[in-house]
Amino acid sequence: MNIEIRDNLLQDIREFMGEDLLEMNLEYTHPLLRIKRDRLHDACRFLKNTLHFIYLNEIIGTDRFTSEDRFEVIYHLISLRNRQRLFLKVRVEEEYPVLPTVTDFWKSANWNEREVFDMFGIRFEGHPDLRRIFLPEDFKYYPLRKEFPLLGVPGSLEMPNTTPDHD
Protein backbone atom coordinates (compact mmCIF):
# COMPACT_ATOMS: atom_id res chain seq x y z
CA MET A 1 0.00 0.00 0.00
CA ASN A 2 1.40 3.32 -1.06
CA ILE A 3 1.17 5.79 1.81
CA GLU A 4 1.55 8.83 -0.40
CA ILE A 5 -1.36 7.94 -2.64
CA ARG A 6 -3.39 7.17 0.42
CA ASP A 7 -2.75 10.55 1.93
CA ASN A 8 -3.63 12.29 -1.30
CA LEU A 9 -6.90 10.39 -1.45
CA LEU A 10 -7.65 11.22 2.14
CA GLN A 11 -6.97 14.87 1.43
CA ASP A 12 -9.52 14.76 -1.38
CA ILE A 13 -12.07 13.16 0.85
CA ARG A 14 -11.45 15.65 3.61
CA GLU A 15 -12.00 18.51 1.21
CA PHE A 16 -15.19 16.99 -0.13
CA MET A 17 -16.71 16.04 3.20
CA GLY A 18 -15.61 19.05 5.22
CA GLU A 19 -17.28 19.08 8.59
CA ASP A 20 -19.13 15.86 8.00
CA LEU A 21 -16.04 13.74 8.29
CA LEU A 22 -16.30 12.95 11.94
CA GLU A 23 -13.45 10.62 12.63
CA MET A 24 -10.39 9.24 10.93
CA ASN A 25 -8.36 6.29 12.08
CA LEU A 26 -5.10 5.39 10.37
CA GLU A 27 -3.62 3.22 13.07
CA TYR A 28 -3.45 -0.02 11.07
CA THR A 29 -2.57 1.40 7.64
CA HIS A 30 -6.11 0.98 6.26
CA PRO A 31 -8.02 4.21 6.71
CA LEU A 32 -11.24 4.01 8.68
CA LEU A 33 -13.43 7.04 8.18
CA ARG A 34 -16.62 7.88 9.95
CA ILE A 35 -19.03 10.23 8.29
CA LYS A 36 -22.41 11.71 9.05
CA ARG A 37 -25.30 9.48 8.23
CA ASP A 38 -27.06 11.94 5.93
CA ARG A 39 -24.04 12.27 3.71
CA LEU A 40 -23.68 8.55 3.02
CA HIS A 41 -25.15 8.68 -0.45
CA ASP A 42 -23.11 11.72 -1.40
CA ALA A 43 -19.93 10.19 -0.13
CA CYS A 44 -20.52 6.95 -1.96
CA ARG A 45 -21.13 8.72 -5.22
CA PHE A 46 -17.98 10.75 -4.76
CA LEU A 47 -15.88 7.74 -3.81
CA LYS A 48 -17.06 5.67 -6.71
CA ASN A 49 -17.14 8.21 -9.49
CA THR A 50 -14.29 10.52 -8.61
CA LEU A 51 -11.91 8.43 -6.54
CA HIS A 52 -12.50 5.21 -8.40
CA PHE A 53 -13.49 2.95 -5.54
CA ILE A 54 -15.36 0.64 -7.85
CA TYR A 55 -15.15 -2.59 -5.89
CA LEU A 56 -17.32 -3.00 -2.81
CA ASN A 57 -15.88 -5.92 -0.95
CA GLU A 58 -18.16 -6.31 2.02
CA ILE A 59 -20.45 -4.52 4.40
CA ILE A 60 -19.84 -5.02 8.08
CA GLY A 61 -22.41 -4.45 10.76
CA THR A 62 -21.47 -4.01 14.37
CA ASP A 63 -23.40 -3.61 17.55
CA ARG A 64 -21.76 -1.09 19.87
CA PHE A 65 -24.31 -1.75 22.61
CA THR A 66 -24.59 1.87 23.60
CA SER A 67 -27.79 3.79 24.12
CA GLU A 68 -26.95 6.31 21.44
CA ASP A 69 -26.06 5.42 17.89
CA ARG A 70 -26.12 1.78 18.68
CA PHE A 71 -25.27 0.20 15.36
CA GLU A 72 -22.43 0.87 13.05
CA VAL A 73 -22.31 -0.10 9.40
CA ILE A 74 -18.95 -0.23 7.70
CA TYR A 75 -18.47 -0.26 3.96
CA HIS A 76 -15.29 -1.87 2.80
CA LEU A 77 -14.22 -0.38 -0.53
CA ILE A 78 -11.31 -1.07 -2.81
CA SER A 79 -9.80 1.05 -5.50
CA LEU A 80 -8.04 -1.26 -7.89
CA ARG A 81 -6.37 1.57 -9.77
CA ASN A 82 -4.77 3.14 -6.72
CA ARG A 83 -4.36 -0.11 -4.79
CA GLN A 84 -6.15 1.26 -1.77
CA ARG A 85 -8.62 -0.01 0.74
CA LEU A 86 -11.02 2.23 2.55
CA PHE A 87 -13.47 1.64 5.34
CA LEU A 88 -16.39 4.00 5.52
CA LYS A 89 -18.48 4.02 8.66
CA VAL A 90 -21.87 5.36 9.52
CA ARG A 91 -23.78 5.02 12.75
CA VAL A 92 -27.46 4.27 13.14
CA GLU A 93 -29.61 4.56 16.22
CA GLU A 94 -31.61 1.71 17.62
CA GLU A 95 -35.08 3.26 17.36
CA TYR A 96 -34.92 3.87 13.65
CA PRO A 97 -32.37 1.49 12.15
CA VAL A 98 -32.70 2.52 8.54
CA LEU A 99 -30.04 3.44 6.02
CA PRO A 100 -30.23 4.28 2.33
CA THR A 101 -29.14 1.41 0.16
CA VAL A 102 -25.97 1.54 -1.88
CA THR A 103 -27.04 -1.12 -4.36
CA ASP A 104 -27.46 1.61 -6.95
CA PHE A 105 -23.70 2.19 -6.87
CA TRP A 106 -22.40 -1.28 -6.28
CA LYS A 107 -24.41 -4.29 -7.29
CA SER A 108 -22.47 -6.42 -4.85
CA ALA A 109 -24.06 -4.56 -1.96
CA ASN A 110 -27.15 -6.66 -2.52
CA TRP A 111 -26.28 -9.75 -0.48
CA ASN A 112 -24.09 -7.86 1.93
CA GLU A 113 -26.95 -5.60 2.90
CA ARG A 114 -29.20 -8.58 3.26
CA GLU A 115 -26.68 -10.11 5.60
CA VAL A 116 -26.53 -7.02 7.78
CA PHE A 117 -30.31 -6.96 7.82
CA ASP A 118 -30.42 -10.60 8.80
CA MET A 119 -27.93 -10.27 11.62
CA PHE A 120 -28.75 -6.84 13.06
CA GLY A 121 -32.13 -5.85 11.73
CA ILE A 122 -30.89 -2.72 10.02
CA ARG A 123 -33.16 -2.02 7.09
CA PHE A 124 -31.91 -0.57 3.84
CA GLU A 125 -34.29 1.75 2.09
CA GLY A 126 -34.62 1.13 -1.61
CA HIS A 127 -33.02 -2.29 -1.58
CA PRO A 128 -34.47 -4.35 -4.43
CA ASP A 129 -35.01 -7.57 -2.50
CA LEU A 130 -34.57 -7.24 1.23
CA ARG A 131 -35.09 -10.67 2.73
CA ARG A 132 -33.21 -12.57 5.36
CA ILE A 133 -30.32 -14.37 3.80
CA PHE A 134 -29.20 -17.07 6.21
CA LEU A 135 -32.02 -17.59 8.64
CA PRO A 136 -35.55 -18.41 7.61
CA GLU A 137 -38.04 -15.60 7.35
CA ASP A 138 -40.04 -17.10 10.23
CA PHE A 139 -37.27 -16.37 12.69
CA LYS A 140 -38.09 -13.24 14.62
CA TYR A 141 -34.82 -12.24 16.25
CA TYR A 142 -31.56 -10.72 15.12
CA PRO A 143 -28.82 -13.04 16.30
CA LEU A 144 -25.74 -10.84 16.25
CA ARG A 145 -27.24 -8.22 18.50
CA LYS A 146 -25.45 -8.45 21.78
CA GLU A 147 -28.49 -9.30 23.87
CA PHE A 148 -29.28 -12.42 21.85
CA PRO A 149 -28.13 -15.51 23.74
CA LEU A 150 -25.51 -17.71 22.14
CA LEU A 151 -27.69 -20.78 22.31
CA GLY A 152 -30.66 -19.07 20.78
CA VAL A 153 -34.25 -18.97 21.94
CA PRO A 154 -35.76 -22.41 22.47
CA GLY A 155 -38.61 -23.04 20.08
CA SER A 156 -37.86 -20.11 17.82
CA LEU A 157 -36.77 -22.41 15.02
CA GLU A 158 -38.89 -25.44 14.41
CA MET A 159 -37.68 -28.99 14.25
CA PRO A 160 -39.11 -31.71 12.03
CA ASN A 161 -41.52 -34.24 13.44
CA THR A 162 -40.21 -37.66 14.22
CA THR A 163 -43.01 -39.57 12.56
CA PRO A 164 -43.42 -39.77 8.81
CA ASP A 165 -46.98 -38.48 8.74
CA HIS A 166 -47.19 -35.24 10.60
CA ASP A 167 -50.45 -35.73 12.51
Binding site: I60, W106, M119
Partner: protein
Protein backbone atom coordinates in the same frame (compact mmCIF):
# COMPACT_ATOMS: atom_id res chain seq x y z
CA UNK B 1 -38.09 -10.63 25.82
CA UNK B 2 -37.09 -14.10 24.79
CA UNK B 3 -39.91 -16.37 25.78
CA UNK B 4 -39.64 -19.95 24.83
CA UNK B 5 -42.60 -21.56 23.20
CA UNK B 6 -43.60 -24.56 25.29
CA UNK B 7 -46.09 -25.88 22.76
CA UNK B 8 -43.46 -26.34 20.14
CA UNK B 9 -43.32 -30.11 20.25
CA UNK B 10 -47.01 -30.44 19.53
CA UNK B 11 -47.09 -28.07 16.62
CA UNK B 12 -47.21 -29.27 13.07
CA UNK B 13 -44.10 -28.33 11.17
CA UNK B 14 -44.66 -25.58 8.66
CA UNK B 15 -41.36 -25.99 6.83
CA UNK B 16 -40.68 -22.31 7.38
CA UNK B 17 -43.71 -21.30 5.39
CA UNK B 18 -43.06 -17.56 5.50
CA UNK B 19 -39.60 -18.15 4.23
CA UNK B 20 -40.76 -20.19 1.27
CA UNK B 21 -43.44 -17.67 0.43
CA UNK B 22 -40.97 -14.81 0.48
CA UNK B 23 -38.61 -16.76 -1.71
CA UNK B 24 -41.22 -17.53 -4.32
CA UNK B 25 -42.52 -14.01 -4.15
CA UNK B 26 -39.11 -12.63 -4.92
CA UNK B 27 -39.15 -14.79 -8.03
CA UNK B 28 -42.55 -13.23 -8.78
CA UNK B 29 -44.08 -16.61 -8.87
CA UNK B 30 -46.75 -18.44 -7.04
CA UNK B 31 -45.99 -21.82 -5.65
CA UNK B 32 -47.06 -23.47 -8.90
CA UNK B 33 -44.24 -25.25 -10.65
CA UNK B 34 -45.54 -25.32 -14.20
CA UNK B 35 -47.76 -22.83 -15.91
CA UNK B 36 -49.03 -24.31 -19.12
CA UNK B 37 -49.76 -21.87 -21.85
CA UNK B 38 -52.20 -23.78 -24.05
CA UNK B 39 -52.01 -21.53 -27.06
CA UNK B 40 -48.27 -22.04 -27.40
CA UNK B 41 -46.96 -25.05 -25.51
CA UNK B 42 -43.36 -24.05 -26.13
CA UNK B 43 -43.79 -20.90 -24.08
CA UNK B 44 -44.51 -22.83 -20.94
CA UNK B 45 -42.83 -21.38 -17.87
CA UNK B 46 -41.62 -23.54 -15.11
CA UNK B 47 -40.05 -23.06 -11.74
CA UNK B 48 -37.35 -25.52 -10.91
CA UNK B 49 -36.11 -26.05 -7.42
CA UNK B 50 -32.63 -27.49 -7.09
CA UNK B 51 -31.27 -28.42 -3.72
CA UNK B 52 -30.64 -28.12 -0.84
CA UNK B 53 -29.85 -31.81 -1.13
CA UNK B 54 -28.39 -32.19 -4.56
CA UNK B 55 -25.15 -33.92 -5.51
CA UNK B 56 -23.97 -31.13 -7.75
CA UNK B 57 -24.50 -28.16 -5.48
CA UNK B 58 -21.36 -28.88 -3.48
CA UNK B 59 -23.14 -29.13 -0.21
CA UNK B 60 -26.37 -27.52 0.63
CA UNK B 61 -27.01 -24.71 -1.78
CA UNK B 62 -30.53 -24.22 -3.00
CA UNK B 63 -31.14 -22.72 -6.39
CA UNK B 64 -34.55 -21.62 -7.53
CA UNK B 65 -34.83 -21.09 -11.23
CA UNK B 66 -37.52 -19.79 -13.49
CA UNK B 67 -37.23 -21.52 -16.82
CA UNK B 68 -38.42 -20.63 -20.22
CA UNK B 69 -37.99 -23.88 -22.06
CA UNK B 70 -34.42 -24.71 -21.25
CA UNK B 71 -33.21 -21.20 -20.63
CA UNK B 72 -33.02 -19.74 -17.16
CA UNK B 73 -34.80 -16.44 -17.12
CA UNK B 74 -34.38 -15.63 -13.48
CA UNK B 75 -32.78 -17.31 -10.57
CA UNK B 76 -32.63 -16.91 -6.83
CA UNK B 77 -30.25 -18.56 -4.44
CA UNK B 78 -31.26 -19.64 -1.00
CA UNK B 79 -28.28 -20.02 1.26
CA UNK B 80 -28.00 -20.43 4.98
CA UNK B 81 -28.53 -24.16 5.18
CA UNK B 82 -25.23 -24.37 7.00
CA UNK B 83 -25.55 -21.18 9.01
CA UNK B 84 -24.43 -21.85 12.54
CA UNK B 85 -23.51 -18.35 13.65
CA UNK B 86 -19.75 -18.53 13.60
CA UNK B 87 -19.42 -14.81 14.22
CA UNK B 88 -21.53 -15.09 17.31
CA UNK B 89 -19.39 -17.93 18.53
CA UNK B 90 -16.27 -15.87 17.92
CA UNK B 91 -17.56 -13.20 20.26
CA UNK B 92 -17.87 -15.79 22.99
CA UNK B 93 -14.44 -17.35 22.61
CA UNK B 94 -10.91 -16.18 23.11
CA UNK B 95 -8.83 -15.77 20.00
CA UNK B 96 -7.02 -19.08 20.39
CA UNK B 97 -10.22 -20.91 21.19
CA UNK B 98 -11.74 -19.59 18.02
CA UNK B 99 -8.86 -20.72 15.86
CA UNK B 100 -10.05 -24.34 15.37
CA UNK B 101 -13.39 -23.01 14.12
CA UNK B 102 -11.68 -21.46 11.15
CA UNK B 103 -10.72 -24.94 9.99
CA UNK B 104 -14.37 -25.69 9.58
CA UNK B 105 -15.15 -22.66 7.45
CA UNK B 106 -13.58 -23.43 4.15
CA UNK B 107 -12.94 -27.05 4.80
CA UNK B 108 -11.17 -27.66 1.54
CA UNK B 109 -8.22 -25.53 2.56
CA UNK B 110 -8.19 -25.28 6.34
CA UNK B 111 -4.61 -24.13 6.60
CA UNK B 112 -5.26 -20.89 4.74
CA UNK B 113 -8.08 -20.07 7.10
CA UNK B 114 -5.89 -20.68 10.14
CA UNK B 115 -3.25 -18.40 8.73
CA UNK B 116 -5.79 -15.72 7.88
CA UNK B 117 -7.05 -15.54 11.44
CA UNK B 118 -3.58 -15.73 12.95
CA UNK B 119 -2.30 -12.91 10.76
CA UNK B 120 -5.28 -10.74 11.60
CA UNK B 121 -4.86 -11.27 15.34
CA UNK B 122 -1.13 -10.78 15.10
CA UNK B 123 -1.71 -7.55 13.28
CA UNK B 124 -4.11 -6.19 15.85
CA UNK B 125 -1.88 -7.30 18.74
CA UNK B 126 1.33 -6.09 17.09
CA UNK B 127 3.31 -9.29 16.99
CA UNK B 128 6.35 -10.19 14.96
CA UNK B 129 6.57 -13.77 13.79
CA UNK B 130 9.83 -15.72 13.53
CA UNK B 131 11.01 -16.18 9.99
CA UNK B 132 10.97 -19.94 9.92
CA UNK B 133 7.38 -20.02 11.11
CA UNK B 134 6.40 -17.70 8.28
CA UNK B 135 8.01 -19.98 5.75
CA UNK B 136 6.28 -23.01 7.20
CA UNK B 137 3.00 -21.17 6.95
CA UNK B 138 3.62 -20.20 3.37
CA UNK B 139 4.51 -23.71 2.33
CA UNK B 140 1.43 -25.15 3.96
CA UNK B 141 -0.79 -22.41 2.55
CA UNK B 142 0.34 -23.23 -0.94
CA UNK B 143 -0.13 -26.93 -0.30
CA UNK B 144 -3.65 -26.27 0.83
CA UNK B 145 -4.23 -24.18 -2.27
CA UNK B 146 -3.24 -27.17 -4.36
CA UNK B 147 -5.44 -29.42 -2.28
CA UNK B 148 -8.44 -27.16 -2.69
CA UNK B 149 -7.96 -26.81 -6.42
CA UNK B 150 -7.62 -30.57 -6.72
CA UNK B 151 -10.99 -31.12 -5.19
CA UNK B 152 -12.45 -28.45 -7.43
CA UNK B 153 -10.97 -30.16 -10.47
CA UNK B 154 -12.29 -33.56 -9.49
CA UNK B 155 -15.80 -32.46 -8.66
CA UNK B 156 -16.13 -30.01 -11.50
CA UNK B 157 -15.25 -32.64 -14.05
CA UNK B 158 -17.41 -35.15 -12.25
CA UNK B 159 -20.30 -32.72 -12.62
CA UNK B 160 -19.50 -32.50 -16.29
CA UNK B 161 -19.76 -36.26 -16.49
CA UNK B 162 -16.32 -37.86 -16.08
CA UNK B 163 -15.98 -39.84 -12.91
CA UNK B 164 -12.46 -41.10 -13.27
CA UNK B 165 -10.95 -37.67 -12.75
CA UNK B 166 -12.36 -37.62 -9.29
CA UNK B 167 -10.40 -40.75 -8.47
CA UNK B 168 -7.18 -39.36 -9.88
CA UNK B 169 -7.38 -36.04 -8.09
CA UNK B 170 -8.31 -37.78 -4.89
CA UNK B 171 -5.25 -39.95 -5.18
CA UNK B 172 -3.14 -36.79 -5.17
CA UNK B 173 -5.18 -35.32 -2.35
CA UNK B 174 -4.48 -38.39 -0.29
CA UNK B 175 -0.80 -37.63 -0.63
CA UNK B 176 -1.45 -34.14 0.68
CA UNK B 177 -3.49 -35.57 3.52
CA UNK B 178 -0.54 -37.75 4.40
CA UNK B 179 1.69 -34.71 4.45
CA UNK B 180 -0.66 -32.80 6.73
CA UNK B 181 -1.02 -35.87 8.88
CA UNK B 182 2.73 -35.87 9.31
CA UNK B 183 3.05 -32.10 9.79
CA UNK B 184 0.12 -31.39 12.02
CA UNK B 185 -1.30 -34.69 13.19
CA UNK B 186 -4.60 -34.60 11.39
CA UNK B 187 -5.72 -35.17 7.87
CA UNK B 188 -7.38 -31.88 7.13
CA UNK B 189 -8.67 -29.99 10.12
CA UNK B 190 -5.12 -29.18 11.04
CA UNK B 191 -5.17 -26.16 13.39
CA UNK B 192 -1.45 -26.09 12.94
CA UNK B 193 -0.80 -22.40 12.56
CA UNK B 194 -1.20 -20.81 15.97
CA UNK B 195 -1.33 -17.21 17.02
CA UNK B 196 2.32 -16.25 17.35
CA UNK B 197 3.77 -18.92 15.12
CA UNK B 198 3.07 -22.52 14.32
CA UNK B 199 2.49 -25.47 16.57
CA UNK B 200 5.48 -27.58 15.66
CA UNK B 201 8.34 -27.66 13.25
CA UNK B 202 8.51 -29.87 10.17
CA UNK B 203 9.83 -33.29 10.94
CA UNK B 204 12.48 -34.61 8.52
CA UNK B 205 9.90 -37.09 7.24
CA UNK B 206 7.40 -34.36 6.54
CA UNK B 207 9.94 -32.26 4.73
CA UNK B 208 10.96 -35.21 2.62
CA UNK B 209 7.33 -35.93 1.79
CA UNK B 210 6.68 -32.37 0.69
CA UNK B 211 9.79 -32.35 -1.47
CA UNK B 212 8.72 -35.61 -3.05
CA UNK B 213 5.25 -34.26 -3.69
CA UNK B 214 6.44 -31.11 -5.42
CA UNK B 215 8.85 -33.17 -7.49
CA UNK B 216 6.14 -35.46 -8.77
CA UNK B 217 3.13 -33.22 -8.91
CA UNK B 218 4.06 -31.14 -12.01
CA UNK B 219 4.16 -34.31 -14.10
CA UNK B 220 0.73 -35.25 -12.91
CA UNK B 221 -0.50 -31.77 -13.77
CA UNK B 222 1.00 -32.04 -17.21
CA UNK B 223 -0.83 -35.29 -17.78
CA UNK B 224 -4.13 -33.71 -16.84
CA UNK B 225 -3.49 -30.79 -19.14
CA UNK B 226 -2.87 -33.29 -21.89
CA UNK B 227 -6.17 -35.01 -21.31
CA UNK B 228 -8.32 -31.95 -20.86
CA UNK B 229 -6.94 -29.07 -22.89
CA UNK B 230 -7.89 -30.43 -26.24
CA UNK B 231 -10.65 -32.72 -25.16
CA UNK B 232 -13.59 -31.91 -27.38
CA UNK B 233 -16.23 -32.87 -24.84
CA UNK B 234 -14.66 -30.95 -22.02
CA UNK B 235 -13.97 -27.83 -24.05
CA UNK B 236 -17.41 -27.77 -25.62
CA UNK B 237 -18.98 -28.23 -22.25
CA UNK B 238 -17.12 -25.31 -20.72
CA UNK B 239 -16.32 -22.88 -23.47
CA UNK B 240 -18.50 -19.80 -23.26
CA UNK B 241 -20.49 -21.22 -20.38
CA UNK B 242 -21.16 -18.85 -17.53
CA UNK B 243 -19.27 -16.04 -19.19
CA UNK B 244 -19.01 -12.68 -17.53
CA UNK B 245 -17.08 -9.54 -18.41
CA UNK B 246 -14.66 -7.71 -16.17
CA UNK B 247 -16.88 -4.70 -15.61
CA UNK B 248 -19.73 -6.87 -14.48
CA UNK B 249 -17.34 -9.09 -12.55
CA UNK B 250 -16.18 -6.17 -10.45
CA UNK B 251 -19.71 -4.87 -10.04
CA UNK B 252 -21.04 -8.11 -8.62
CA UNK B 253 -17.97 -8.52 -6.51
CA UNK B 254 -16.46 -11.78 -7.69
CA UNK B 255 -13.35 -12.93 -5.89
CA UNK B 256 -10.28 -15.00 -6.50
CA UNK B 257 -9.80 -17.10 -9.63
CA UNK B 258 -13.30 -16.26 -10.85
CA UNK B 259 -12.38 -12.58 -10.93
CA UNK B 260 -8.97 -13.25 -12.41
CA UNK B 261 -10.58 -15.24 -15.19
CA UNK B 262 -12.32 -12.06 -16.30
CA UNK B 263 -9.00 -10.31 -16.74
CA UNK B 264 -8.43 -8.49 -13.48
CA UNK B 265 -5.21 -9.46 -11.75
CA UNK B 266 -6.51 -8.90 -8.27
CA UNK B 267 -4.53 -11.20 -6.04
CA UNK B 268 -3.84 -10.17 -2.46
CA UNK B 269 -0.43 -11.78 -2.66
CA UNK B 270 0.65 -9.02 -5.02
CA UNK B 271 -1.98 -6.38 -4.30
CA UNK B 272 -1.04 -6.10 -0.66
CA UNK B 273 1.74 -8.60 0.01
CA UNK B 274 1.54 -10.33 3.34
CA UNK B 275 3.96 -12.78 4.94
CA UNK B 276 6.94 -12.96 2.58
CA UNK B 277 5.20 -13.13 -0.75
CA UNK B 278 6.92 -9.94 -1.89
CA UNK B 279 10.20 -11.86 -1.98
CA UNK B 280 8.82 -14.65 -4.09
CA UNK B 281 8.92 -14.82 -7.82
CA UNK B 282 5.59 -15.96 -9.16
CA UNK B 283 2.98 -15.04 -11.66
CA UNK B 284 -0.69 -14.29 -11.23
CA UNK B 285 -2.48 -16.23 -13.96
CA UNK B 286 -5.26 -14.34 -15.65
CA UNK B 287 -7.54 -14.90 -18.60
CA UNK B 288 -9.87 -12.50 -20.30
CA UNK B 289 -12.75 -14.70 -21.44
CA UNK B 290 -14.43 -14.91 -18.06
CA UNK B 291 -16.10 -18.22 -18.79
CA UNK B 292 -15.75 -21.60 -17.21
CA UNK B 293 -12.86 -22.63 -19.39
CA UNK B 294 -10.95 -19.52 -18.36
CA UNK B 295 -11.53 -20.35 -14.72
CA UNK B 296 -10.20 -23.81 -15.38
CA UNK B 297 -6.99 -22.47 -16.90
CA UNK B 298 -6.50 -19.95 -14.10
CA UNK B 299 -6.77 -22.57 -11.42
CA UNK B 300 -4.58 -25.08 -13.22
CA UNK B 301 -1.86 -22.51 -13.67
CA UNK B 302 -2.18 -21.41 -10.08
CA UNK B 303 -1.37 -24.92 -8.98
CA UNK B 304 1.82 -24.83 -11.03
CA UNK B 305 2.71 -21.46 -9.52
CA UNK B 306 2.13 -22.82 -6.05
CA UNK B 307 4.67 -25.53 -6.67
CA UNK B 308 7.16 -22.88 -7.72
CA UNK B 309 6.51 -20.86 -4.58
CA UNK B 310 7.07 -23.91 -2.40
CA UNK B 311 10.36 -24.61 -4.12
CA UNK B 312 11.52 -21.05 -3.50
CA UNK B 313 10.41 -21.25 0.11
CA UNK B 314 12.54 -24.32 0.67
CA UNK B 315 15.52 -22.52 -0.82
CA UNK B 316 15.18 -19.42 1.29
CA UNK B 317 13.97 -20.96 4.50
CA UNK B 318 16.37 -20.72 7.44
CA UNK B 319 17.44 -24.20 8.40
CA UNK B 320 16.86 -23.69 12.09
CA UNK B 321 15.20 -21.18 14.27
CA UNK B 322 12.33 -20.53 16.61
CA UNK B 323 8.87 -21.27 15.31
CA UNK B 324 6.87 -19.35 17.86
CA UNK B 325 7.10 -15.96 19.52
CA UNK B 326 8.94 -16.22 22.79
CA UNK B 327 6.65 -13.93 24.72
CA UNK B 328 4.37 -15.39 27.34
CA UNK B 329 1.87 -12.55 26.99
CA UNK B 330 1.32 -13.22 23.33
CA UNK B 331 1.56 -16.88 22.63
CA UNK B 332 1.65 -20.25 24.32
CA UNK B 333 4.97 -21.40 25.79
CA UNK B 334 6.40 -24.59 24.39
CA UNK B 335 5.30 -27.86 25.92
CA UNK B 336 8.76 -28.47 27.38
CA UNK B 337 8.46 -25.32 29.41
CA UNK B 338 4.95 -26.15 30.51
CA UNK B 339 5.88 -29.58 31.77
CA UNK B 340 9.16 -28.78 33.45
CA UNK B 341 8.88 -25.26 34.82
CA UNK B 342 6.47 -23.60 37.15
CA UNK B 343 6.50 -20.37 35.20
CA UNK B 344 5.71 -22.10 31.99
CA UNK B 345 2.71 -23.75 33.56
CA UNK B 346 1.42 -20.47 34.94
CA UNK B 347 1.84 -18.79 31.58
CA UNK B 348 0.06 -21.62 29.86
CA UNK B 349 -2.78 -21.30 32.31
CA UNK B 350 -3.00 -17.54 31.95
CA UNK B 351 -2.93 -17.84 28.21
CA UNK B 352 -5.82 -20.27 28.20
CA UNK B 353 -7.75 -18.22 30.69
CA UNK B 354 -7.42 -14.68 29.41
CA UNK B 355 -5.62 -15.06 26.12
CA UNK B 356 -4.20 -12.35 23.97
CA UNK B 357 -5.54 -8.90 24.76
CA UNK B 358 -5.19 -6.42 21.91
CA UNK B 359 -5.49 -2.74 22.86
CA UNK B 360 -9.01 -1.57 23.61
CA UNK B 361 -10.83 0.11 20.78
CA UNK B 362 -8.45 -1.17 18.15
CA UNK B 363 -9.96 -2.33 14.90
CA UNK B 364 -8.19 -3.76 11.94
CA UNK B 365 -8.64 -5.78 8.83
CA UNK B 366 -6.33 -8.30 7.32
CA UNK B 367 -6.86 -10.36 4.22
CA UNK B 368 -5.04 -13.20 2.57
CA UNK B 369 -5.46 -14.86 -0.76
CA UNK B 370 -7.23 -18.08 0.07
CA UNK B 371 -7.66 -20.60 -2.77
CA UNK B 372 -11.11 -19.25 -3.48
CA UNK B 373 -10.31 -15.59 -3.22
CA UNK B 374 -9.89 -12.90 -0.67
CA UNK B 375 -10.42 -14.17 2.84
CA UNK B 376 -10.36 -11.38 5.36
CA UNK B 377 -10.97 -10.97 9.05
CA UNK B 378 -12.16 -7.71 10.46
CA UNK B 379 -11.62 -7.57 14.20
CA UNK B 380 -12.81 -5.03 16.73
CA UNK B 381 -11.27 -5.37 20.13
CA UNK B 382 -12.55 -4.12 23.45
CA UNK B 383 -9.35 -4.83 25.30
CA UNK B 384 -10.33 -8.26 26.61
CA UNK B 385 -9.31 -11.65 25.30
CA UNK B 386 -12.54 -11.97 23.31
CA UNK B 387 -13.12 -10.09 20.10
CA UNK B 388 -15.92 -7.56 20.38
CA UNK B 389 -16.81 -8.17 16.79
CA UNK B 390 -15.23 -10.45 14.27
CA UNK B 391 -16.42 -10.30 10.71
CA UNK B 392 -15.42 -12.84 8.15
CA UNK B 393 -15.14 -11.72 4.59
CA UNK B 394 -15.48 -15.00 2.84
CA UNK B 395 -14.71 -15.54 -0.83
CA UNK B 396 -17.47 -18.09 -1.41
CA UNK B 397 -20.05 -15.58 -0.29
CA UNK B 398 -18.86 -13.06 -2.86
CA UNK B 399 -18.73 -15.67 -5.58
CA UNK B 400 -22.15 -17.07 -4.85
CA UNK B 401 -23.60 -13.61 -5.04
CA UNK B 402 -22.27 -13.43 -8.57
CA UNK B 403 -23.90 -16.73 -9.42
CA UNK B 404 -27.35 -15.14 -9.54
CA UNK B 405 -26.19 -12.84 -12.30
CA UNK B 406 -24.06 -15.40 -14.10
CA UNK B 407 -26.88 -17.92 -14.35
CA UNK B 408 -29.24 -15.48 -16.04
CA UNK B 409 -29.72 -16.59 -19.61
CA UNK B 410 -27.79 -19.83 -19.27
CA UNK B 411 -29.15 -23.24 -20.11
CA UNK B 412 -30.47 -25.22 -17.21
CA UNK B 413 -28.09 -28.09 -17.90
CA UNK B 414 -25.14 -25.75 -17.45
CA UNK B 415 -26.07 -24.85 -13.90
CA UNK B 416 -24.07 -27.67 -12.40
CA UNK B 417 -21.00 -26.86 -14.44
CA UNK B 418 -21.17 -23.20 -13.54
CA UNK B 419 -21.54 -23.98 -9.86
CA UNK B 420 -18.66 -26.39 -10.16
CA UNK B 421 -16.57 -23.78 -11.90
CA UNK B 422 -17.16 -21.12 -9.27
CA UNK B 423 -16.28 -23.62 -6.57
CA UNK B 424 -18.28 -22.33 -3.64
CA UNK B 425 -18.00 -23.94 -0.24
CA UNK B 426 -21.12 -23.56 1.80
CA UNK B 427 -19.43 -23.72 5.18
CA UNK B 428 -17.52 -20.66 4.17
CA UNK B 429 -20.32 -18.67 2.67
CA UNK B 430 -22.93 -19.45 5.29
CA UNK B 431 -20.79 -18.33 8.22
Amino acid sequence: MFQSDSNISRKKPTYFREHQEALYKSLEDKHATVEVDHSDPLATRMTLNMGPQHPATHGVLRVLMELDGEVITKCRLDTGYLHRGIEKMAENKTYQEFMPYTDRMDYLSPYSNNVALCLAVEKIANMEIPERATYIRMICCELSRISSHLLWLGTMIMDAGALSFFLWTFREREKLYDIFDEVAGHRFTVSHSRIGGVNNDFTPVAEEKIRKFIREFPDELKGWHKILDRNRIFVDRNNGVGAIGHVEGIAIGLAGPSLRATGIAYDIRTFEPYMLYDQMDFMVPTRTEGDNLARYYCRMEEMAESVRIIEQCFEKMPKKGPIRVDDAKKSYPSKDEVYYSMEGLIHDFMMTDTGICPPAGAECYHAIEAPKGELGFYIQSDGTGHPWRLKINSPSFSNLQGLETILDGEMVADTVVVIGGLDPVMGDSDK
